[in-house]
Symmetry: C2
Subunit: 410 residues, 2 copies
């Protein structure tokens, strides 16, 4: 274990995966807004989906594929319209998109996953989607540039591309996991975040792959928040075409642990990148809770701190107003005594303790501002009550968040 090597590329880095992208004119003019991932070899699939009761039509479509156990050949994504709150017409759009892939690439329509992100409560222009699929079917490439292009085409208010690939060894074979994700607003994943698609050539049993996905997503995508709004479209899918040639992972052995470690590396990377690129954000805001009574409490505490509007605004203003973190911890639902708590700010290689066992400390305000001016600010919270820990990631709340969201649709 432990030899996870970051390599170039994204979803086309593992063997046998191709990608394509196009400007289908769904929402924007002259902007790539559709992407496709394709594997000639059928893939096992593991996924997690939004727990929002209002689920987009495409989430319903993909959940059905994931539960059925069918193999997957392709994922088609558009970044113009969410296809949520669209009734029967929305479900029909999913089917027609999948049928378009069947027509051009000769794989069964029910092996094609679809995903959407964008405006809720608006119907998809099906003909544009069909033309987009036709276009992309011609442009599929296993070059790394295809993965990068696909990753960029699914961005909405995102400002940075979010892709990664890692290489690791299973037995005597090299395997790769590649991934891309998007998400900047309406980010408060409850199962996983907006859209994330991972590919791998590692051979692994479907049930074990789902287990690894569920555990890893819980500690990565499910630990980020931008605005507390859990989307209707959250979708995470990992496709495995088993082309690495490794002995198939069928037990929780050393190979499984290596696979899970690589998966975790990829997911934490993408999740942090998403949090730091939250709508309008100027910095990544991390809350690291240690020595809590339970893992569940540690998660509640860290998520509550990075999710608090007041904490986020203080981070934006470089104001070491740590009382807001304690307030957010207090309403998180976790069990603790403020008299046990220690709080430190950490950033740019410096740290500063501001609260010690229930008592506010006199601290150096200039140093606090210096720490908080970093692009990555951590609040380190020692509960001194147990041994559980958790880390959550968010971003600051800025004028630009309001600006972006006051006129998103119009």
């Amino acid at each position: 274990m432990g030899k996870i090597i970051k390599i170039d590329g994204g979803v086309t880095a593992p063997k046998g995966f191709k990608a394509a992208f196009t400007a289908a004119g769904i929402k924007y003019k002259d902007r790539n807004d559709m992407a496709m991932i394709f594997s000639e070899t059928p893939c096992e699939c593991a996924g997690t989906f939004t727990k929002n009761r209002v689920k987009a039509a495409c989430v319903k479509w993909d959940k059905e594929i994931n539960v059925s156990g069918r193999k997957v050949h392709a994922v088609v994504i558009n970044s113009g319209i969410a296809n949520a709150c669209t009734g029967e017409e929305g479900l029909a759009a999913c089917k027609k998109t999948a049928e378009a892939v069947e027509k051009t690439l000769k794989v069964p329509a029910d092996s094609v996953a679809v995903a959407s992100t964008g405006v809720i409560g608006m119907q998809l222009p099906v003909e544009k989607l069909e033309r987009g699929v036709e276009e992309m079917s011609k442009g599929l490439t296993d070059d790394l540039s295809g993965g990068t292009g696909a990753s960029k085409a699914i961005m909405t208010t995102d400002t940075v591309n979010k892709e990664i690939a890692v290489r690791f060894t299973l037995g005597d074979k090299e395997a790769v996991i590649g991934g891309m994700s998007k998400g900047s607003g309406m980010i408060h994943p409850d199962m996983c975040t907006m859209l994330a698609f991972l590919t791998t050539d590692a051979a692994i049993d479907k049930a074990l792959m789902q287990k690894a996905v569920s555990e890893v997503v819980d500690d990565s995508f499910n630990m980020i928040t931008v605005d507390g709004d859990t989307s209707t479209n959250d979708t995470f899918m990992l496709l495995s075409n088993a082309l690495a040639g490794n002995e198939k992972i069928c037990a929780e052995n050393e190979d499984y642990e290596t696979f899970k470690e690589a998966l975790s590396y990829v997911c934490v990377f993408l999740a942090k990148r998403m949090a730091g690129d939250g709508e309008g954000a100027t910095k990544l805001f991390e809350a690291s809770v240690v020595n809590a009574k339970s893992k569940a409490d540690a998660k509640l505490l860290s998520r509550s701190v990075v999710g608090s509007n007041l904490s986020k605004a203080a981070i934006f203003g470089c104001d070491a107003n740590f009382g807001r973190f304690l307030c957010a911890m207090g309403y998180s639902g976790a069990d603790f005594d403020e008299g046990d708590v220690e709080l430190c700010f950490v950033g740019g290689g410096e740290e500063l303790k501001v609260f010690d066992h229930g008592v506010p400390l006199d601290f150096d305000e200039e140093k606090a501002v210096r720490i908080m001016k970093n692009e990555h600010v951590t609040v380190y919270i020692n509960m001194n009550e147990g041994s559980a820990s958790a880390t959550a990631w968010g971003c600051d709340l800025t004028y630009d968040y309001v600006k972006i969201n006051a006129d998103y649709r119009t």
Copy 2:
């Protein structure tokens, strides 16, 4: 029932209540930052307090008084420092404040409630508080101006004064309830909001008064939100000195219903005023849910809609992006089927349906903008699944919210 008449004034409107205020220099220079309410006649007290696990020292002090059943003579409030996360020193500050009142006004220290709002994690300057109490003890007046001055002295980022008084009849006696409250940020009451103090001369059994308070607060203060941050200091107290001369209310009879109706009138007025004056807000944002499966669901749904950052930003931008409301309903935890839902925007005497039984409607965008430009915008949500209803109040999310909170402390 039904004859609730709004009259001038606030906490000094009922018989026997005096108030005072002063600039004690706790945080600001030359700004009133302390207030006192006083009744020579001892008062029964009913209260509700924050459910935040991190409770301010003053909340602990007041809860003890409320639970003990002791009579209350005075409430002393400062609006500079929250006295939360201040350990033993914070509790000692409460005691010293109460003892200062004992010294000047000859009432027992343990009949003096104290309350604070302001920065968390900072110690109170006790000597300034003591001088403030001395000053206010000389300035107590039963004039309406005393109540108004006290109400204004507890404001922090509030931009409008929040006070009200109503008159009603119990048997052949007239009784009055007066109230004042403050709150603009860190407003997501879980029990009741920041600070609200009500006075009444109506005679009512303590247990019945507490029952009425708990029920009314649940449908008023507990249904507003500004930023999702439940404060460490939320305090609601109602003091009754029984000077109206009515036959004491000792059963849930007609007088009880009248009292509760008057109390509800006062609480809803103050709660809405607080939501509409949320930090940086330009308008009051109301979500009215009808025909839900249960009252609990109706509350979850309405609170989730007005609490969503994305919904609030859309309201600010006059963008009828109703999908964000459906998204917020979806993650509220309430049980429903989006296929049953109808959504209307209501404002300035106009209304506009945008979503009908799961299907987005084509609507007049100009009319939507016209409706949303009003100072009070309501989204009317018909669940069509039951008969329960609830209303929640919030405000829009604006640049000024970020501005106010990025540099609150410094």
